[in-house]
Amino acid sequence: MSEQRPDGITPSQTVGPYFKYGLTPNGEYAWNDAFTNNLITPDVSGERIRVEGTVFDGDGVPVPDCMLEIWQADAQGRFSDPQDARALPNSSFKGFGRVGTDAKGGYSFDTIKPGQVPDPDGKPQAPHILLAVYARGMLLHLYTRIYFDDEAANATDPVLALVPSDRRATLIAKRKASAAYVLDIHLQGDNETVFFDV
């Protein structure tokens, strides 16, 4: 049987308000948890960090039914994907995490600080984590990036350079004590997070 060439991709629909028992159970429902917000595996090397914050809507109201997914390289800038020919297969660090926001719109990820990943020209990008945002009221998820305020490489990052300077701060997590970074996500409004068209 040969499949007919499709006439386009399957359209996106909202994740809705009820994804929690299927996608992000974390012990709240009796189901086999596939993903969590803790990416740290025993064999992973690198600086252990936490990234945390709150998701807000256009009225500045916390979004308690948001799902966040992150995707990142390891401490040496390699992805756990066979398509990354540089990756070494001897780490169980997956680089993917998922979490649902809590009743106050809060989220957190425990992970490691990613290394630098080359851009298409081979130039190093500043350390960053990809973030995808899903929620009721969002018909198509949004992509953004998490950068770190203690990285000098931000000054030469090719993606940050495309962002108007007065909006860059929305992408840069601020370090506080104990290896934790804070970055709030604003879906809409004056402090609207920069989202990317990719």
Partner: protein
């Protein structure tokens, strides 16, 4: 395999601001998205296998002591790329309401009963040809308060991982000829009729199991096409 992810393909998606679906009004960005080049970060994605999907995770009818109430169905199909090639080893997650249109989720207060033998969450991995298969119960329609007398058509939520983080798709599968289609702002947020039709499964008589289950086929097309351009045909 190297794939391209053309931005034009995204035209199939609904606009983020679709005011008839009221929750979009405060949750859609107002500033334009910033186009960037796809880097290794965007072009790679998580790979999950049998350590994630347990043997019976694709059968939602055997997760509890007894059998759930409702119409037993098989939902199957292929996960494909834009060239129609199967996406192997893709993780497919689904969740849904029970036959009465009630979700297990604590926020769902629709006055229809929960089914003690049905949770409504499942997971499968596509095989080498991109094929996946679930056994479940046909979900019921449910009211949702978006506007007067608003009812969602029967649907199953799907979450799919493809080759990269930007081929990621969360969508909803609908059932053919649902009379609620014309009245549902989420379904109709997809403005192109052909694209909307790609969210509707087809009744699959050939693969029903007599005396046991009806069957619906739902192919899922993810972003991504062959990076090698086809040669010009003279």
């Amino acid at each position: 395999m190297t794939l391209l992810y053309p931005l034009q393909s995204l035209a199939a998606h609904p606009p983020r601001l679709s005011p008839a679906y009221r929750s979009t009004v405060k949750r859609a960005p107002q500033k334009p998205l910033i186009p960037i080049r796809q880097t290794l970060s965007e072009l790679t994605g998580p790979v999950y296998g049998h350590e994630t999907v347990r043997e019976n995770d694709n059968d939602l009818t055997i997760q509890h002591k007894g059998e759930p109430l409702g119409e037993r169905i098989i939902v199957h199909g292929h996960v494909l790329d834009e060239d129609g090639r199967g996406v192997p080893n893709a993780l497919v997650e689904l969740w849904q309401a029970n036959a009465c249109g009630r979700y297990v989720h604590v926020v769902d207060q629709h006055p229809a009963p929960l089914d003690p033998n049905f949770t409504g969450a499942g997971r499968a991995q596509t095989d080498a040809s991109g094929y996946y298969r679930f056994i479940t119960i046909k979900p019921g329609a449910y009211p949702w308060g978006n506007h007067h007398n608003a009812w969602r058509p029967a649907h199953i939520h799907f979450s799919v991982f493809g080759h990269s983080f930007i081929s990621r798709l969360v969508t909803q599968m609908y059932f053919p000829a649902d009379p609620l289609f014309p009245f549902d702002p989420i379904f109709n947020s997809v403005t192109d009729e052909k694209a909307r039709a790609r969210m509707i499964s087809s009744f699959d008589l050939e693969n029903t199991q007599p005396e046991w289950a009806l069957c619906y086929r739902f192919n899922i097309v993810l972003r991504g096409r062959n990076a090698t351009p086809m040669e010009n045909k003279s």
